[in-house]
Amino acid sequence: MTAVIQASGLGKRYRRTWALRDCTLAIPEGRVTGLVGPNGAGKTTLLRLAVGMLTPACGTIAVLGQSPAAGPAQLARVGFVAQDTPVYARMTVADHLRLGAWLNPGWDDDLARRRIGQLGLDPKQRAGSLSGGQRAQLALTLALAKRPELLILDEPVAALDPLARREFLQGLMEAVAEHGLSIVLSSHLVADLERVCDYLIVLVASRVQIAGELSALLGSHHRLSGPRRDPGTMPTGQEVIQESHTDKQSNLLIRTDGPVLDPAWTVKPVSLEDLVLAYMSRAADGTPARRQRLGAVS
């Protein structure tokens, strides 16, 4: 696997608090990678380190094999759409395209104009008067028309209404289909990630809880329900991610590469949302989360 982002022991500290601590991960090339995790997991810090907006306090990070923002060439290879998709409020849409053309040698003016046309944006309109969705689309257009090899987006749709969110992600997908670039996208909206991502990383407290291809993840996780049972007695190869028990019944979310053969279990597939939540709620030390239910004795 070639990594577009490779981090090792990466840390960033603001005075005494660590925004990211000892983070080690590899994000594969040619994928649309979703980075999901609770607030404060370090997603934004990680992505801002990847584009060189921040410098690490410790550890290393390589983006496309080089240190972030190392020079004009490296900057040209990586596109970034920051949280809240900032644009210059006083500059017009056309001015933004001019900015892109002036500052990027690889600028694809056709692509930019086509996208602006498709979106129905008035080039003379000031960016400050655009809707949130239009602003996000303008920011995405700037990042795409620079023709990067890797596009990093930090919660680009968090502030958008469902329709604008869908249109934004659709635009992103079209770009992937057309140009085949690698994408890293952070979000806490699992449904959005499911729509666009083919690779998923769950990050909690700077640590990768699970990473893998979306289909493989869904295929290797199962929800089991059956008579009450001690999770410690599960066969090897079946890792309990989440458990909940009543007097008579056990509900488990497990990961296994093989089939579940025990006929006592009723096996159901898991949704991505359940999978992500299970990993997010699992304590950082790896013990399964114990889901308490009303009236449960455990």
């Binding site: 060189g52 923002a69 900057l75 500059m91």
Partner: protein, 351 residues
């Protein structure tokens, strides 16, 4: 990047151009009349003995009329304020506004390094700041040339009679405005980079710049070159201030306002010394009686007859340009140091 920088500088450039135009119109509409007053005063082509008197009359006339005195002060104040305004409104937001609105993430993720981005921004803003301030200074210098000539000829007696070394004149003429503008601008940029919020950065910029501009004429400028010291006879002084206090004028304070033989010199300090060469403010008993008559010449003559002389510390007029260059150099060096710090900070520690 230069094109983007100019595009983003449009509003400031238009504002500055409008302000410059307004200033130019104000001076252009009043300047010719001031020049005609000067021509009518008979100073040009005056007999050397009469020049000083004519120059004083001219200044007195302007001062009494009021308008030109007010315009003169207004122009000087605007030139002094311009660097501060530029530091506040061009300098402080340069990085801080990008950080506040998040557009730094947009600007610094194009295919251009932050160093280049800042270099162009600093160059465009800094050069514009220097050009605007110096343009105002030159326009004011043209307008106030008659006043300057009258003062140069020894005209005195009013508040208008400020020599080239006086704080207000020195700081608004020559090349010092260039240094102030560059310094104030980079000071604003640095404050913005450090604080990352525009309004607090503006406040800090104003506070520091004001403090520097007060400290410079009061404590730093007089010591840029070692002062010269001289002791002259009291009778040789032709422009003095004498204050008497205490019972029967038992104490006095004699200050020289110009130095004979050194026209245009910058007097830093002067005090009376007795026959033994010691500084003293005690009026000799023989002279206290003179005080009752409230007659300055009588007191002066008496002091002189008791061996009193005046010790004067000064900077000669010939050092004017040395002072100008040195002070401008200090401000430019400070501006460069601040800019260097901004480059380092932008590349290493921004969040």
């Amino acid at each position: 990047m230069i094109r983007l920088s100019l595009l983003q500088f449009r509003v400031q450039a238009i504002t500055a151009a409008a302000a410059l135009a307004a200033f130019a119109i104000l001076l252009a509409t009043t300047g010719p009349h001031l020049a005609s007053l000067y021509a009518a005063s008979g100073i040009s082509g005056c007999q050397p003995a009469a020049c000083e008197h004519l120059a004083s009359n001219f200044l007195q006339q302007l001062y009494t009329a009021g308008t030109y005195w007010v315009l003169y002060l207004l122009g000087v104040m605007l030139i002094l304020l311009t660097p501060a305004v530029i530091g506040l409104f061009w300098g402080a937001p340069l990085i801080a506004r990008e950080q506040e609105t998040g557009t730094s993430a947009l600007a610094w993720n194009q295919s251009i390094t932050r160093t280049r981005w800042l270099a162009v921004k600093l160059a465009v803003g800094g050069l514009a700041a220097m050009a605007v301030t110096e343009a105002m200074s030159l326009m004011q210098a043209w307008w106030a040339a008659p006043i300057g000539r009258a003062v140069g000829l020894g005209g005195g007696g009013t508040n208008l009679a400020m020599g080239r070394f006086s704080s207000l004149v020195f700081a608004t003429h020559g090349i010092t405005p260039l240094g102030y503008a560059a310094f104030a601008f980079t000071l604003g940029v640095t404050a913005g980079a450090l604080i990352q919020r525009t309004v607090p950065a503006m406040a800090v910029t104003l506070a520091i710049f004001a403090a520097v501009q007060i400290a410079m004429p009061l404590w730093i400028r007089p010591n840029l070159f070692p002062a010269r010291h001289t002791i002259v006879a009291i009778t040789a002084l032709d422009n003095i201030s004498l204050q008497q206090g205490g019972l029967n004028g038992s104490h006095f304070d004699l200050g020289a306002l110009n130095l004979p033989g050194q026209p245009g010199a910058w007097l830093l300090f002067s005090e009376a010394v007795n026959a033994a060469g010691q500084a003293t403010s005690t009026t000799p008993a023989a002279c206290t009686a003179q005080a009752d008559e409230n007659s300055t010449p009588a007191v002066m003559a008496c002091l002189a007859s008791h061996g009193f002389r005046e010790a004067i510390s000064y900077q000669p007029a010939s050092r004017y340009w040395a002072f100008q260059w040195t002070e401008t150099g200090i401000y430019l060096a400070a501006a460069l140091a601040l800019a260097g710090y901004c480059f380092r900070r932008l590349n290493r520690r921004l969040s």
